[in-house]
Subunit: 392 residues, 2 copies
C-alpha cells in the first residue's frame, strides 16, 4: 500500500482555507522555474500589478510575503515599530490580541483599545486613546475579525489616525476581495492579507502593501529590523522593479503560481462583482439560517458577509454537530475561538466557497445534522428561503 496522501474531498465553509478553484490547483502543479528566471520575474511583476488592483492601490511596495498571514502581520509590525514606540492596538477578537502580542515582542508599547468580541471597533474609543497618547506612532486594527465575524469601519479609523499624524496598520486577511478594501482612498499605510480566504489560493502567502510614508519610516529607523526575513528594505531589493533583483530568499514558486491564477480569476470576475457575490450569498445564507429559527451573532451593520457567525442553539452539542457535518456531509465549518468557543459556529462563504449551490448544500446538511442531535428547528424551509433571497 502506498504511503502517499490522498486527501478526502471536503467542502470548506470554515474561516479559511476556502475551496480552491480547479484553475488555481492546476497552476500549482505547473513545472518549476528558478526564482531568478526572467519568465518568473515577469510573472512576479504581473502578480504585483494584480495585487495592486485587489488592494486598490498604486503603492510600489505591494507584494506577496513568503509566509502565512501571521508573517504579514509580523512584517508590518517589526518594520514600523521600534523600541519604545507607542501603538494603539484595537482588540475585538483573537487577531487584535495577536497584533498586541506582536507589537510587544517588537519592543513597542501597546495601548489596547478593547471592544466586545463580536462587535466592530468603536472609533470613539480610538479617538480617546489618541487624545490620551499624543505621541502614539501608529494605530493597528483588524478590518475583518476572523475570530468573531465583525467588520470594522476602516475608512473612519484610518481618517482618525491620519488626523493625528499616526501611521495605520490594517489586517485585511479576511476582508480582501470579500468586502471593499481601499488602500489608497482610505490612506492605509501598511496592510497584510492572506492567500487562503477570499482569494481562494493555498494558505502560506501574505499579500501586503506599504505606502511611501510607511517606507520612509522604515528607511529612517534607528536600528535594524529585528527579523532578517521580513526586513522590507531587503525584500524590496528582490521584489522591486527598480532594483537589480538581488537574491534574498528562494520564493515559494508554486504557491505564487497559484496566487497569480487566483488573482487572474478575480480580475476576470471584477473586484466589485466579487464583493457583490459575497454579499449575495451571505444574504441567502442568512435567510436560510433564520428560516430554521437560528440567528447570527453579530449586529447586522457590523456583519462580515464572507464569515457568518451562527449562534449555537441552547442545549446543542457544538462538537457533535461539526463532527456529523464533517464526517457524514464532508463539510467543514469553524468552531468559535476564545470567548466564543462553544457558543457559535463560523460559516465561511469565502472566494470559491461563495457559491449558491454550496449555500444550499450547507443548509440542507446543517438541518439534517441538527435533526440528528435532536435540536428543535424549523425543517424543510431553509433552502427555499435562501433561494428566494437570491432571486430578489
Amino acid at each position: 500500500m502506498s504511503r502517499s496522501f490522498v486527501p478526502p474531498e471536503r467542502m470548506l465553509l470554515g474561516p479559511g482555507p476556502s475551496d480552491i478553484h480547479p484553475r488555481v490547483l492546476a497552476a500549482m502543479a505547473r513545472p518549476t522555474l528558478g526564482h531568478l528566471d526572467p519568465a518568473f520575474v515577469a510573472m512576479m511583476d504581473d502578480l504585483k500589478e494584480l495585487l495592486r488592483g485587489a488592494f486598490r492601490t498604486r503603492n510600489a511596495m505591494t507584494l506577496p510575503l513568503s509566509g502565512p498571514g501571521s508573517a504579514g502581520m509580523e512584517a508590518c509590525v517589526v518594520n514600523l515599530v521600534e523600541l519604545g514606540d507607542e501603538v494603539i492596538v484595537c482588540e475585538n477578537g483573537v487577531f487584535g490580541g495577536r497584533l498586541r502580542e506582536n507589537v510587544e515582542r517588537a519592543g513597542g508599547v501597546a495601548i489596547p483599545v478593547r471592544d466586545e468580541w463580536g462587535r466592530a471597533v468603536d472609533p470613539g474609543k480610538v479617538e480617546e486613546a489618541l487624545a490620551a497618547h499624543p505621541k502614539a506612532k501608529a494605530v493597528a486594527f483588524v478590518h475583518a475579525e476572523t475570530s468573531t465575524g465583525a467588520l470594522s469601519d476602516a475608512r473612519t479609523l484610518c481618517e482618525i489616525a491620519r488626523r493625528r499624524g499616526c501611521l495605520t496598520i490594517v489586517d485585511t486577511v479576511t476582508s480582501l476581495a470579500g468586502v471593499p478594501v481601499e488602500v489608497d482612498a482610505w490612506g492605509i499605510d501598511a496592510t497584510y492579507s492572506g492567500s487562503q480566504k477570499c482569494l481562494s489560493c493555498t494558505p502560506g502567502l501574505s499579500p501586503a502593501s506599504f505606502s511611501d510614508r510607511a517606507l520612509e519610516v522604515v528607511r529612517a529607523r534607528k536600528r535594524k529590523v529585528q527579523s532578517w526575513l521580513l526586513d522590507l528594505s531587503l525584500l524590496a531589493a528582490y521584489w522591486d522593479e527598480g532594483h537589480k533583483r538581488t537574491y534574498h530568499h528562494t520564493a515559494p514558486i508554486h504557491p505564487l503560481y497559484g496566487l497569480h491564477e487566483a488573482l487572474v480569476l478575480l480580475e476576470e470576475e471584477g473586484l466589485e462583482a466579487s464583493w457583490a457575490r459575497h454579499r449575495r450569498h451571505h444574504l441567502a445564507l442568512r435567510a436560510g439560517i433564520e428560516a430554521m429559527g437560528l440567528s447570527l451573532a453579530v449586529p447586522e451593520n457590523e456583519r462580515l458577509p464572507e464569515l457568518n457567525v451562527v449562534r449555537i442553539p441552547e442545549g446543542v452539542d457544538d462538537a457533535a454537530v461539526r463532527k456529523i457535518l464533517l464526517e457524514e456531509h464532508a463539510i467543514e465549518i469553524g468552531a468559535g475561538l476564545g470567548a466564543l468557543a462553544g457558543k457559535v459556529w463560523r460559516v465561511g462563504l469565502m472566494g470559491h466557497s461563495s457559491r449558491a449551490h454550496k449555500v444550499y448544500r450547507f443548509l440542507g446538511a446543517l438541518e439534517a445534522s441538527l435533526a440528528c442531535v435532536g435540536a428543535r428547528i424549523e425543517r424543510g424551509v431553509a433552502v427555499e428561503e435562501a433561494r428566494r433571497a437570491l432571486s430578489e
Copy 2:
C-alpha cells in the same frame, strides 16, 4: 488572450530550486483540506515521522516550518539566542554571513570564525574561538554552503561544541538527503533545511528539528521569543501530538502535500541510496567537466556532490554562457555569489535533478554554449567520460 501564467519548461541545475518529480507536482494539485481536519492532522503526523527518517533523529520536535529556509534559520536563532548571548558563527560563505546577521538581530553577540570562501570550516579555528570565549552559548555553522559548494565536517564540529557544553545550530539546507546528515548521532541541537534542494519539493517550507536539550533552553528563556510566528513553544501546541492541536497559524496545505509526497519518494528510494545517487552523478559530472578541460573549484575532500562549483575559464563571459544555456538549451545553472561572482558557475544535481540523462544533457549543452562564445575546450568527449564514470 488569457493573463494566466504558463511557465516555460526548464531543466533546473542551479543551486535550487531543483526539478520536481511529477508525483510531487500532482500532490500539490490535490483538493484542499482545513488545517485542523483530522485527515490533515494524520498527514502531518506522518510527515513528521518521514522527516525524522530524513534527519536521522527521534526528536519529537521535528516539523516543517511555514517559510523558506531563511525562516528556519531565523527560528533556530531567535528561539535559542537571548540578549547578550555569545554565539560562535562560522562564516565560509553567504549563508554563514546570514547566520551572523540573524544572531545580531536577535540581540546576540556573534563571534565570527572565518574561512576562505570555497573551503570547509576549519575545526581548529572553532576550538580556538571556544577556548577564547568560554561563555559561548552556541556554535552555528552551515553544513553545506550553497554559495560555494563546500561541505564541512559537521560531526567533528558538533563534537567540539558539545565538549564545551555548547548548543549547535546547523544549516542543512543543501545537505539534507544529498549527503549524510545524522542529527542524533552527531548531537545536533537545532537544524533547519529547505524543501527545494535535495528533497525536490516547492520552495517555501523549512524542515527543522530540535533536540530536547534545545527545547529546555527555549523553556528556560528569560524573555519571550521576539518572533511570534517562529516561537517554538507556540508552534509545538499545533504540531506536537502530545498537545491539543491548538490553532497557531494556517498551515500551507498544498506545499505540505508536496513535501509529504517528496518524503515518500525518498523513503521508497532509501536515504542511503539517495546519498549514493547524488555522489554517483557528481562523479559523472566531474569526469565530463574535467574531460572538457575545466575544473572544479572546491578541494576534492570538501566538495558537496549535489552542488558542483565549476571555475569559469579565463576570458569566458559568465553571463553570456548562462544566457545561452537558459534561452537555447532551457537549462538553468547558478552564478557565483559574493566573492565568487563572475568566477564560478554553480551546477546543482539535487534531488530529482540528479539523474544520468540530465548530466549528459547538461554536458552537451555546456560544450555547445562554450563553443558559441569561442572558449577553447576539449570537444566531443565529455558525455563519454561521464558515462564511463557511471559504469565504474
